[in-house]
Symmetry: C2
Subunit: 479 residues, 2 copies
């Protein structure tokens, strides 16, 4: 992740998708490179999106009984190694503190790559009886995973996320809760981020290190690649056994707890950018925009400035408290302002000039379609609310249409490879073995994104080996 300037130009998607993505981030001023390898700086425009994520998810989590807490970011190395699969999965990625306060530490401390181990070490003291269950904890935090290839938002050495961690009385309850929280994510992506999700189960080789089962939200980006945009894990009693999380059940027997963990990170912002943006820059769904409407006064000469800006302010006020609006009174040509707000993805632009004031109307321009229309200055609030809703649903519909158009069902290896090369989401039969999964990945670079919840049981044969299969799974190349 090295610094590069795009001088406010957006590289066309068709030319270079990866450069397009980076140039959108630069133009919308969302993030920038930092003096630390692999770490980005989230600038105010980018952080404002994260604050929306926090605001919405906090409300949804609280409805599900979740409470926020905060655990140390430093983890004693021996804790990380307690659960065998977990340490195997994370050990290669950790950063280690060996010195502090001017001295060598007796035991190295690891910067949390995720917090199962540090949390579960104390959960055992919080849970004594079935009455203490379910325990439903969430934390908003920074985590560190030493990544070789990084890209802003999508994969950075440090990232921000929330991680939920729960303990339940039995496996069915834990599994249901993991599914519930995946549902919270799915709904958040659909209703707020306008990203249609394919929810499903990860294959054994793609599941979280230490989990019994990983549920995932997979989304299709505009280049046809998949993005794993959030996951929820049924941890079984793996960690409970490693960390001795026991409780007295209703029959007064001491039994192990059953756990889940689930997370959503700043990677979701990468997904948001890649789903909706275009060759003019960022496109924000109205529900994720901290500024939904920008009003640009058109000032033909300095004498008219006061009157036009005052009219713009009045329009802004008339939009009320439920629409967030900004009046751009910078000393800059209005054309430049259009360009500036366009690349920043503000959903609606209102233009007000002398002629509009005469006619008591304004011009409304949609960021998603570029459509322009005149509207009377009075009762604008209804018109604008309606336009924002239309943009919100259009973005979702557009992304869903793209996903549908680019998802294909194949029956043999030739079709499979052609579709993968063509950057499709491919529903195909697979024999269920890690071996076949790996050979497909090695040969063509496609991975099993998930076994979609709605994949029906049917007889079939694996596209690679011809061996029997009971349901199709989703293959794609992935970010």
């Amino acid at each position: 992740m090295e610094g590069k300037t795009y001088e406010n130009k957006i590289v066309p998607r068709s030319e270079d998708y990866s450069e397009w993505y980076l140039s959108v981030i630069a133009a919308a001023d969302l993030a920038t490179y930092s003096p630390v390898k692999g770490c980005m700086i989230i600038k105010p425009n980018g952080y404002a999106i994260w604050e929306k994520v926090q605001e919405v998810l906090n409300k949804e989590f609280k409805k599900k009984g979740v409470q926020n807490a905060y655990f140390p970011m430093l983890i004693p190395e021996k804790l990380l190694t307690r659960e065998a699969q977990h340490v195997e999965g994370f050990a290669p990625e950790v950063a280690v503190v060996t010195h502090a306060g001017g001295a060598k530490l007796d035991e190295p401390l690891v910067l949390r790559p995720t917090s199962e181990t540090i949390m579960y070490e104390v959960f055992k003291d919080w849970i004594h009886s079935y009455r203490d269950l379910p325990l439903l904890i969430n934390q908003w935090a920074n985590v560190i995973r030493w990544e070789m290839k990084t890209k802003p938002f999508l994969r950075t050495t440090e990232f921000l996320w929330q991680e939920g961690h729960t303990v339940h009385k039995d496996e069915p309850e834990a599994d249901a809760y993991a599914r519930t929280m995946l549902g919270v994510y799915e709904k958040f992506f659909a209703d707020y981020m306008a990203i249609p999700i394919i929810p499903g189960v990860k294959s054994e080789s793609e599941k979280f290190a230490g989990a019994l089962r990983t549920y995932t939200c997979e989304a299709m980006m505009q280049d046809g690649k998949a993005l794993q945009i959030s996951t929820s894990h049924n941890l079984g009693d793996n960690f409970a056994k490693a960390f001795d999380i026991k409780f007295l059940n209703e029959e007064n027997n001491e039994v192990y707890g059953w756990q889940t963990s689930w997370g959503l990170s700043t990677r979701s912002i990468g997904g948001l950018i890649m789903t909706h943006s275009d060759d003019k820059g960022l496109v924000l769904p109205p529900k994720m925009a901290s500024i939904q409407v920008v009003i640009v006064p058109i000032i033909p000469n300095p004498d008219s400035r006061a009157a036009i800006e005052s009219a713009a302010m009045k329009v802004a006020e008339s939009l009320g408290e439920n629409i967030s609006v900004h009046v751009d009174v910078r000393d800059m040509r209005h054309g430049e302002k259009y360009f500036d707000w366009e690349k920043k993805g503000i959903p609606v632009r209102i233009e007000i000039g002398p002629k509009d004031i005469e006619k008591n109307s304004v011009v409304i321009v949609r960021r998603d379609t570029g459509d322009k229309e005149f509207a009377p200055m009075e009762n604008l609030v209804e018109k604008i609310s309606d336009t924002l809703e239309k943009i919100q649903s259009n973005l979702y519909d557009r992304a869903l249409a793209m996903q549908n158009e680019n998802t294909v069902t194949v029956t043999n290896w030739d079709e499979f490879t052609a579709a993968i090369e063509d950057r499709k989401f491919v529903m195909a039969h697979w024999d269920g073995t890690d071996e076949t999964e790996k050979s497909i990945k090695d040969e063509i670079g496609a991975t099993i994104r998930c076994i979609p919840f709605d994949s029906v049981e049917e007889e079939g044969s694996c596209v690679k080996t011809g061996k029997p299969s009971t349901r199709r799974v989703l293959f794609a190349k992935a970010h």
Copy 2:
């Protein structure tokens, strides 16, 4: 900071203030020890207070034009050393990452003890002309300072805070902004935390490492000791010169920027606990309580449960959306519930039993005074709002009265030492030298908390050396 259980008992303040503090935290379930030395776990009850802090301050900051952003927590060691005083102040406290991703790092990375250096290294790229100023950035983050003696909230190896960082066109503007932000803190403490503040300037030896001038909010705890509860720094152009933060001014000359930084941490929660709590446990000001009112149904026999709980729910609903209320329907005796909510500091308890329902009234109990009164069940919202306001102002008044009663003005060394031994805040003349300040500290353990803004200019002689002095300063022992 080692683990200890208090079995839900509060150690009386008169017996052992420090143990009282720890037992209140345990009883109110605010925080607990972690497997990492010096790091605490902030439990949901404690974190809910921090969320209130964030909610209020975010609103206030935004009114002052501040935008939130996020910078990496890892800082290349060479950046930290760029400003001479700064590195001298922080080097002894840093934790260092030497290994990551399975290999030794070429250059060690320091965990941020504060973010001046990592931010200012990029600020220089964000600022070109006076039009880019002022730059007003804030970040909510965790920081690490390797502390030898730790205590929950007051001093922990990792803590949460906000750190604001600004760049201005000249020194007067920067100084005014630093003062403005101190004012934001002072008002927050007065209006929300009900903590009266003595604002002032730090002496040279107590100022922030790298600052030109440090402004501070000092508060008196119930043991008469001072707590430095937030600070705001005028950084002058020290960092601008070290990090090459320049801009073209209106005269088209390239000049250095002038900076401020200001922070408030989870330490403020320690101050909140120590200011208001009593021998029954935590006392929360209503504006900082996530639950302001708890309703406890009094159920004499199982048959009456449904009717009484339903009445309790109705009362809860009648309190509307602006009062946060919780109905405690746990299967537990009401006396135990009283005790439980008392130690958690919930401002108001409403009791509803069969007799109350007959008389169409409820019992209202104030946490701060223990006062009980009957009130008609109708139109409770006004009564409760009024009670919450009374509690809020009573807590402030009580703390202010204590501060006034325990602040003395002295004229000679005997009076000075007697007052310090008696745990007073002492206004005394001082000759203005580091040397005298240090000798007072070494001899009696008192430090200059600040030169209060309202300390008037007057002729006097230093209590220690008899040398001339122009104004009294505030001495006290400190946490």
